[in-house]
């Protein structure tokens, strides 16, 4: 990360001036660094453990790296074999669902914000409330719907293998439940967009659709980035839909999180290096996305 400081004009207190570069300041940094260590420890411990042999796990401190003899990438290769298919599946449904969520969210937010009509708040409330639905309240009808009514694997049996039918279910499900939050994110931006600018475009002769395409869409590209990042992590990390719609770890459509949930618990006993490797491997895409776009992410999660 850069050396940029957080921009906050004159919030340092100058009270420490008399004591030189204050004791306060040192204490502050000690606290911050200490907390950072606390926040990093579980991940760090996971990382070092993942490259330990099972002997080394017993012999070394959980946060200490293994010695040269205790190091192995076996867990990683094993985890990779177990998870590769799941990661591919996750990617296949996460990417389209993310894009769809963003597109629908942007459209809905535009329709509800930049076009002025009565009652939009009521509709918007429906969207917002959708963010806050506990999935337990819809999961049974959802599974019923997919398995007894939609039955994509039967209906689209000629077009799609069961694996892709399941993935299509996941795409649609994730899109539907992702729309509300995306709408909110876009709306928070669109509300700050200059109303006069939209009116200027109207007077310039642009229709509602053209205004969206030529003014609003280009201006929301940064927000699209935020929504992509946010939604990508959300969908990639999601578990409940995988658990209920896919059903089994062995299903060819199993997602990474689903496979991870069962990883390392097999009859051979609890294999912590394998679990850690699997966890890190599963987290890799979101961690990467997040570390690359940390600032956008931080700005974006203000729900």
């Amino acid at each position: 990360m850069s050396e940029e400081t957080l921009s906050a004009g004159s919030r340092t207190d100058d009270e420490g001036l008399l004591e030189g570069v204050g004791f306060d300041r040192i204490l502050l940094y000690v606290t911050i660094v200490g907390l950072a260590i606390v926040y990093l420890i579980p991940i760090e411990s996971g990382l070092v453990t993942s490259i330990k042999t099972s002997d080394a796990v017993g012999n070394t401190q959980p946060f200490a790296p293994p010695g040269p003899t205790g190091a192995t990438v076996e867990s990683w290769t094993f985890a990779f074999d177990a998870l590769a298919q799941g990661m591919v599946n996750s990617l296949i449904f996460t990417v389209p669902a993310t894009i769809l969520c963003a597109v629908f969210g942007s459209m809905a937010a535009y329709g509800l914000t930049l076009v002025d009509w009565r009652g939009q708040v009521a509709v918007f409330v429906l969207f917002i409330a959708g963010i806050f639905i506990p999935y337990q309240a819809v999961i049974i009808p959802l599974t019923q719907f997919w398995s007894n009514i939609a039955m994509l694997d039967h209906r689209l049996g000629l077009l799609l293998t069961p694996r892709f039918a399941t993935i299509l279910e996941l795409i649609i499900t994730h899109t539907a439940y992702g729309i509300p939050i995306c709408t909110l994110l876009f709306r928070s931006q669109y509300k700050t967009m200059s109303w006069e600018m939209i009116e200027a475009a109207k007077l310039d002769g642009a229709s509602v659709w053209r205004i969206y395409k030529r003014i609003v869409l280009p201006l929301s590209l940064p927000m699209f980035a935020v929504v992509f990042i946010f939604q990508f992590t959300q969908i990639w990390n999601e578990f409940l839909f995988s658990l209920t719609l896919i059903g089994s770890v062995n299903d060819p459509a199993a997602s990474a999180t689903l496979i991870l949930s069962g990883l390392g618990t097999s009859l051979e006993g609890i294999d912590y290096p394998l679990r850690m490797a699997g966890a890190l491997l599963t987290a890799l895409p979101t961690l990467a996305v997040y570390l690359l776009f940390a600032d956008e992410f931080a700005e974006g999660v203000r729900v």
């Binding site: 907390l35 509800l112 959708g130």
Partner: protein, 322 residues
């Protein structure tokens, strides 16, 4: 979408030709209806609303209907005989009460702790820290992880022999089994969840802190307040809206803790003391095929979250934030 409007227009045009002599106002009112923002904006919010509405609101309605049946096992639900018996059954099920109590404890403890820790983190980072962004990234890092990943990490953290936590407490000769002891297990779960989400609260607070004009800080200082007093009396009270919105979101994360519990306990049944309504619901449904009963629990959960969200939405609406 455009075609739809064009089509409607063409109908209108035809009708105008047919009637041939509709008054100006009639014509123009149809026209202005088609040109109205409502109609014009519909293609934008309509499809997302239908898709989302079906999966959210229709599903909840259906769920309610299911909760009135006695659907279980492998058959089809029978909608002909709807009763509240599942809700009565909940009242009599001691496990429900335990789960409700645990859900509330989890909700409150987790939310309050996240808010408090998030606030401290935000204030620390608000004080012109070098590498402030990097620290923010670190504190927020766990938020990018899946519940499942977090569960794996903390399973290891909490491992009664080799885990870091007991390595540490072992120094004091105190090595409880964090995930097994019924008195500790809920706390252990909450701590792991705090680790994952306090960074989120921090980000919300940071944004709010940023939006407080620096004049507020300066005015307080000129008024003679020291740093702590300044934050406590002037700055923190102004974070109330941020706190409310963070609370709502944290509550929802807490309601989704099922994923975490499932992963860390390796199944639908958490250790005693850590069962929440979400796990109970999933267990009744997907483990025992008691679908109707499970639906009733799900709906209860929905009502519970509604109790949190409705006031929030209402005040947001009142404040004109929607």
């Amino acid at each position: 979408m455009k075609r739809l409007v064009a089509f409607l227009r063409s109908i209108r045009d035809k009708r105008r030709v047919q009637t041939d002599g509709g008054t100006v106002t009639e014509r123009s009112s149809t026209r202005s209806w088609l040109d109205s923002d409502f109609v014009q904006s519909m293609p934008f919010w309509g499809p997302p609303l239908v898709l989302m509405g079906f999966f959210v609101y229709a599903a909840i309605g259906w769920n309610f209907l299911l909760s009135l049946t006695n659907y279980s096992g492998f058959g089809e639900p029978d909608y002909s005989n709807l009763t509240l018996s599942n809700y009565l059954r909940m009242l009599e099920d001691p496990a429900i009460w335990d789960a409700t109590r645990n859900t509330l404890v989890l909700l409150v403890a987790f939310t309050v702790a996240c808010l408090a820790i998030g606030l401290v983190l935000a204030i620390l980072l608000d004080r012109e820290i070098r590498f402030g962004r990097s620290f923010r990234t670190i504190y927020l890092l766990p938020f990018s992880l899946s519940f499942i990943v977090t569960a794996k990490f903390w399973q290891w953290m909490y491992n009664s022999q080799d885990g870091i936590i007991n390595q540490f407490f072992g120094l004091f000769g105190f090595t409880p089994d964090w995930l097994a002891d019924p008195r500790l297990v809920l706390g252990s779960v909450i701590i792991a969840l705090i680790w994952q989400f306090s960074g989120y609260a921090m980000v919300i607070y940071l944004a709010a802190l940023r939006s407080i004009p620096s004049e507020q800080y300066e005015a307080a200082r000129v008024d003679g307040a020291g740093t702590l007093r300044m934050y406590w009396r002037v700055i923190v009270p102004q974070l109330k809206p941020a706190m409310v919105s963070a609370t709502v979101t944290l509550v929802l994360f807490a309601l989704k803790a099922f994923d975490f519990l499932y992963a860390i306990f390796g199944g639908y049944r958490p250790r005693q003391g850590a069962d929440i309504l979400a796990t109970k619901m999933m267990r009744e449904g997907f483990n025992s095929s008691e679908w109707a009963y499970s639906s009733a629990i799900g709906l209860t959960l929905f009502v519970l979250s509604l109790a949190v969200i409705a006031p929030y939405l209402y005040t947001e609406y009142k404040r004109g934030n929607l």
